[in-house]
């Protein structure tokens, strides 16, 4: 929230301070090495073809959700409805396709439309009705849950074999779904760096007030972030449908909303907005997926997995939290008193 970043919103303001993203990739490397060593100690191999495919497939699903989540978090918002949007999208996509290869595009279009509308509703409620995003998206999730439970009693729709390839095809060890996720990630990076709305997202997240005074309209980037977040969750829902061969309403209980937030924060994006990026998020997702693969290879008790997952997430975030701005500093309602900037600079290790 240091003022220099927010006051120069167009000058590539919010790139993570050198090191944060790098640190995440270092963490990924560390997890991979530690996992490989542990597996080797038990006479097993971590990155066999099967395990790598598994790892990358796992990351593609969470990755799609987390990329969208990154955008909203950069805008100092968040989206707790992504799991429900995934479930809705998988059902909408699978029913629209109705088992026919010729209707695939109809299914995809329907999902993008429906998910986009949900995101738009989230964005409008947050920006126009001024409802806290936590409550907005929690409430939206409940609304979708109510609709799904009432309208569909369990799995619905039928995904044609051609579209199931989306979930199962791979190029060497890289699943198609992972390539799609990577492509979406690249698009998101370009969007954040090269488009007006994208750059403004950092400004809005940095400090909405300052951003507004310097001519950025806070509403538009926020609205765009919510729509894009819902659409990437929709894509994740399509991937689910392709993997399952049908739409599944029960996906909403899989906890993707909190896991995606964890991935974003693990990826070094500042939970208060304005700082971070998609590159880190992808690394964060890979860290979580690697952990799961390691646990699987080692045959860790399912309950102990939760304990380890919780501990590792906290420990990892704690490790590089020190490098970020002191969270206690300057809530947005009060502009920082004149005394503060030098102090902040010292604490952040002197941003340019």
């Amino acid at each position: 929230m240091s003022a220099p970043a927010a006051q120069r919103p167009t000058a590539r303001p919010g790139l993570p301070r050198p090191g944060t993203t790098g640190l995440v990739y270092l963490a990924l490397l560390a997890v991979l090495l530690a996992g490989a060593a542990l597996a080797a100690a038990r006479g097993q191999e971590l990155l066999t073809t099967a395990n790598t495919v598994d790892l990358l497939t796992r990351s593609s699903l969470l990755g799609l959700v987390a990329i969208g989540q990154t955008l909203v978090i950069l805008c100092r918002s968040l989206d707790l409805s992504v799991g429900y949007v995934m479930a809705l999208s998988s059902v909408v996509g699978a029913t629209a396709m109705a088992g026919q290869g010729s209707r695939i595009w109809l299914g995809v279009a329907a999902v993008v439309l429906v998910a986009g509308l949900v995101g738009l509703a989230n964005g409008l409620i947050v920006t126009r009705l001024k409802v806290n995003p936590f409550i907005t998206t929690l409430g939206m999730g409940l609304i979708i849950k109510g609709y799904l439970d009432t309208r569909y009693k369990g799995p619905a729709g039928d995904v044609p074999a051609e579209f199931q390839l989306f979930g199962y095809t791979r190029i060497g060890v890289v699943p198609l779904s992972f390539a799609v996720m990577a492509a979406v990630a690249v698009l998101a990076v370009v969007f954040l760096r090269r488009t007006r709305t994208g750059v403004h997202m950092y400004a809005v997240g940095g400090d909405a007030e300052v951003a507004r005074m310097s001519g950025v309209r806070a509403d538009r980037p926020l609205l765009a972030a919510h729509v894009l977040c819902a659409v990437t969750a929709g894509l994740a829902g399509l991937l689910i449908a392709a993997r399952f061969g049908t739409g599944s309403t029960l996906v909403y209980s899989s906890g993707y909303e909190l896991e995606s937030i964890a991935a974003v924060v693990l990826g070094g994006t500042y939970l208060l907005g304005g700082r971070g990026g998609v590159g880190g998020t992808v690394a964060g997702v890979l860290v979580l997926a690697t952990l799961d693969t390691v646990f699987n290879v080692l045959g860790v008790d399912p309950f102990f997995k939760d304990v380890l997952r919780g501990t590792v997430v906290i420990a990892a975030v704690a490790l590089y939290a020190r490098r970020q701005v002191d969270r206690a500093a300057t809530p947005p309602r009060f502009p920082p008193p004149p005394l503060l900037p030098p102090l902040l600079h010292r604490r952040t290790g002197g941003r340019p």
Binding site: L129, F134, G139, I143, V265, D306, I314, A318, R327, L340
Partner: protein, 347 residues
């Protein structure tokens, strides 16, 4: 209280009740109860209302705990898991022996405080955002307690343990039995109100409002926030005692309570990000959430639609409150752009 006397207190209470967008929650509460009474007049009888109070008590206690954390600018997602863990711990350690009740209760309180302390220190000293710190704690507690019990709770609670959540404290002539849970929740609420009036309470709000300013005026921010988490952990333990007492042990106990508690607090007009809102309004929010469930039930609303209606009402209520707030509060320069803080508060 001593300086201004009763009128001052009344005025302050009145202002607290009406101010800061929390008026919405009382209006909502009154509306829901009016509809429930209209549908089912017998619900207005003391026994039904006391039963309602008994059911609402755990959420009220949780909301008070969550309020402490939220008003200090943080969030506690671990309370649901903590409630579940505590009930399971109680059942396993007590294992039906009456004599074990008191030691186990003390142990639970210590455990709750320890969990809160860890949450607080991880958040304040290790600088992990509280949403992540408490999310991690939620996973750890969920997994650890199942690891310990092999996946399904074992043992049984003692009769004495169950009294708090299930039993009546006194039998009054007209009202019937007054449940312990009501008295306990009221005591927790009153203690919280007293705390918020005391200098420590003001410091808590000040820290949530503007930690830097609070630090400049001498508050030890990390300590205040850590204590708020400890408070939340202890109150979650109290809620666990009430819930376990009310309904006994099931494998799913506690699940999802963190979101109910946060919803209740926000519904009460308390701003996520800290510094605004009263504990009385948070309690009102908890009662409103419980009253909504009662309403759905009285309306015979199909249970699949209930979440959708709940979601709509929550969004509408918070939107309305936020409109009221921006209309009432004079537009300070810093406030001009956004309604309250900014799109998302310091979560």
């Amino acid at each position: 209280m001593t300086a201004t006397g009763v009128p001052g207190t009344l005025r302050r209470t009145g202002a607290a009740l009406a101010g800061g967008g929390s008026g919405t929650v009382y209006a909502l509460l009154a509306l829901v109860f009016a509809v429930v009474f209209a549908i089912n007049p017998s619900f207005a009888q003391p026994p039904s209302l006391l039963a309602f109070a008994q059911q609402a008590a755990p959420l009220v206690v949780l909301a008070v705990g969550q309020y402490l954390v939220i008003v200090a600018g943080e969030l506690d997602l671990s309370v649901g898991s903590l409630v579940g863990a505590q009930v399971v711990i109680a059942a396993r350690l007590i294992d039906g022996q009456e004599s074990a009740t008191l030691p186990v209760l003390l142990l639970m309180v210590a455990f709750g405080a320890a969990v809160g302390l860890v949450n607080g220190l991880v958040t304040t000293v290790l600088k992990v955002p509280s949403i992540i710190a408490t999310l991690g704690m939620m996973l750890v507690l969920y997994g650890a307690v199942r690891l310990w019990t092999g996946g399904a709770p074992t043992g049984a609670l003692s009769e004495a343990f169950r009294t708090a959540g299930r039993g009546d404290a006194v039998e009054l002539p007209l009202l019937g039995g007054v449940p312990w849970a009501l008295l306990i929740a009221a005591a927790a609420g009153a203690a919280a109100v007293a705390l918020m009036r005391a200098p420590q309470g003001r410091t808590l709000v000040a820290v949530g409002d503007n930690a830097t300013a609070a630090a400049f005026s001498g508050a030890r921010v990390w300590r205040v926030r850590t204590l708020a988490f400890v408070g939340s952990g202890v109150l979650a333990t109290l809620a666990a005692i009430l819930i376990g007492g009310f309904a006994g042990v099931t494998a799913q106990v506690g699940e999802g309570l963190e979101f109910s508690a946060i919803t209740a607090v926000v519904l009460g007009g308390v701003v996520l990000g800290g510094g605004r809102g009263t504990v009385v309004a948070a309690i009102g929010g908890a009662l409103a959430v419980e009253a909504l469930f009662t309403l759905f039930n009285q309306l015979y609303l199909p249970s699949t639609i209930q979440p959708a209606v709940q979601g709509l009402i929550i969004i509408a209520a918070v939107a309305y409150a936020s409109r009221e707030r921006s209309r009432r509060s004079p537009r300070a320069p810093a406030d001009a752009g956004g309604p309250e803080k900014s799109p998302r508060e310091e979560v």
